[in-house]
């Protein structure tokens, strides 16, 4: 079979899966889940096959890169159909952010900057939904904005998701009075700097085109001093680093952050210096925030896939090292 044919088969399979998931979503079918016994069989089969790969490696037979890809695909996809409950340990930094939000008095204004786009949404969208939910539950007012063009649209998706909940809908929250989406503004860190003196100069109207002065929630919000707390959801530049350097350090804004797992390690320096009031790192941060907020959603569900994927990657690191010690290092020692 030629490479082109293989590519076409893979493309066809992906299109088919996408179509099935889309039709499932459109027709509103409930999520499909394996029975517990089947989940256990699948896990046992993957575990045993990894053991077999290890034995093959010990015998000197190295596996192809494509085999690793197949294992990763199974490790990520199959747990989406499983329903094992896992105990989620809450990190101090996640607890800190939740506490910071809970301590705000009702009616406080929280600025949430959506500085990410769809590629990072699987990690950051569950965080956004949980944070907005916690804010609404505690009667906090939300001001949404974005330094990334797609940020405000991601915010709208998160708001839509939160409003699906009947307890939130029952609060009868009004756009413009309880929450507002100011939209996107170009200028990266200069937008933050300018907001330090005037929000209105950067957002003359909201996402819908309503003039700033006509929005009751922000009518009296001149600059950062009129905001009680802020949360930055970021996937890169401009993001948390710029918010800390300008809004936090220069204007004294209290801020918590949610970052992708790749970006989160950089933020620990700011967190430990007290410049951040809590941090959610990657999917695990989202799941931990859901756990502390007692609201199990996407983050918690996806953690099963992440657990599986991490275990599979660790297994392959071990197998890789076995292969290295069996062949590479031995030959290197012989050479020496």
């Amino acid at each position: 079979m030629s490479t082109r044919s293989k590519e076409l088969i893979v493309l066809g399979a992906i299109t088919l899966f996408a179509l099935i998931f889309y039709l499932g979503k459109v027709w509103g079918r409930g999520t499909f889940e394996f029975p517990t016994w089947l989940s256990a069989v699948v896990i046992a089969f993957i575990g045993l096959s990894l053991l077999w790969v290890l034995i093959l490696t010990l015998k000197g037979q190295l596996i192809e890169r494509r085999v690793v890809f197949i294992y990763v695909a199974f490790a990520v996809a199959l747990p989406l159909f499983m329903s094992f409950s896992q105990k989620i340990t809450i990190s101090p930094e996640v607890y800190q952010l939740h506490e910071a939000l809970m301590e705000l008095p009702a009616g406080s204004k929280v600025l949430i900057s959506f500085d990410y786009d769809p590629p990072s949404a699987p990690e950051l969208q569950p965080m956004a939904e949980s944070i907005i939910r916690v804010c609404f539950e505690n009667d906090l007012k939300i001001i949404v904005m974005g330094l990334w063009p797609q940020g405000p649209q991601q915010a709208n998706l998160a708001l839509e998701k939160v409003f699906e909940d009947s307890t939130i809908r029952a609060k009868n929250l009004q756009y413009g009075r309880d929450y507002v989406n100011l939209g996107f503004q170009t200028g990266n860190e200069f937008v933050i700097q300018r907001m330090g003196s005037s929000f209105e100069s950067m957002f003359s109207s909201d996402y819908e085109g309503t003039p700033y002065k006509e929005i009751p929630l922000v009518r009296n919000v001149r600059n950062f001093s009129n905001v009680d707390f802020s949360v930055n959801l970021s996937a890169g530049f401009p993001g948390t680093v710029e918010w800390v350097q300008i809004a936090v350090d220069r204007y004294g804004l209290l801020m918590g952050a949610g970052n992708t797992a790749v970006q989160a390690p950089v933020m620990y320096a700011y967190l430990n210096a007290g410049q951040l009031e809590g941090l959610l790192g990657g999917m695990s941060g989202a799941a931990e925030f859901e756990a502390v907020a007692e609201y199990r959603a996407k983050g918690t569900k996806f953690m099963l896939s992440q657990s599986f994927a991490h275990v599979v990657v660790i297994a392959f690191i071990i197998i890789g090292n076995v292969a290295f010690f069996r062949s590479g290092r031995k030959s290197k020692l012989k050479g020496n």
Binding site: V72, P118, F190, P265, V266, G320, N321
Partner: protein, 216 residues
């Protein structure tokens, strides 16, 4: 004069920005606001310029049937489709239920997520081939990676739940992130900061002239 004027503008703006950071009062505060507004205006124009440039390059590539011109044709079609639908739907083009919103939710989001998801395969493959105990430093990295990877997911807690609190895998992962990792990050950030300061000073003082297309 072709070089002196841009160098003078760079020096005045650079020094002005440094001063306004330490003296946030009139007239420096006004100057800072003025420059920030202009930066946003220039940034907005740059988006249009970037989009037009992308179109120019893609159209040229498609017209001349250069290598991989098919991808360029897809870019043109996607760009035109989103632009035309967005303009046709007016101010509320991003509102739920619009065609633009449908394309965003069911085409743009899945395609972007797919591109990003490919990273999982690269990470797994790279870990399999690169995370090897070649020497002391590599072994140290391997051990740290092991604790963080397993300690950051619930399965790590399950595997080490019999251990005393403070010694469980999640505790070890937190320790690695809060101490050795943060120390390393701080060292890198301080290094980057010093580099930025020295490069900025060189540009402000006119010693570094690469940005105006000259060596000396």
């Amino acid at each position: 004069m072709r070089r002196e004027i841009p160098l003078l503008i760079t020096a005045i703006v650079g020094i002005g920005f440094v001063i306004q950071y330490f003296i946030p009062h009139w007239p420096f505060s006004k100057m800072s606001d003025w420059f920030s507004d202009w930066f946003s205006i220039v940034g907005a124009c740059a988006i249009i310029l970037g989009a037009l440039n992308l179109m120019k390059v893609s159209v040229e590539k498609t017209y001349r049937r250069k290598e991989d011109w098919g991808y360029a044709a897809v870019i043109i079609a996607s760009f035109l489709l989103m632009t035309i639908i967005g303009i046709a739907e007016g101010r509320g083009f991003r509102n739920p239920g619009t065609s633009f919103d449908w394309l965003y939710n069911y085409v743009y989001i899945p395609l972007s997520a797919t591109m990003f998801a490919i990273l999982a395969f690269f990470v797994a493959s790279a870990s399999y081939r690169a995370f090897r105990a070649r020497n002391f430093e590599a072994t140290l990295l391997l051990i740290a990676a092991f604790f963080v990877m397993i300690g950051r997911v619930p399965v790590g807690h399950t595997l080490s739940s019999f251990m005393p609190v403070g010694w469980q895998l999640s505790d070890l992962a937190s320790w690695v992130m809060n101490y050795p990792q943060t120390a390393g990050q701080r060292a890198i950030m301080i290094g980057i900061g010093l580099g930025i300061v020295s490069t900025s000073l060189r540009i402000i003082l006119g010693l570094e002239r690469a940005h105006i297309g000259g060596g000396k």
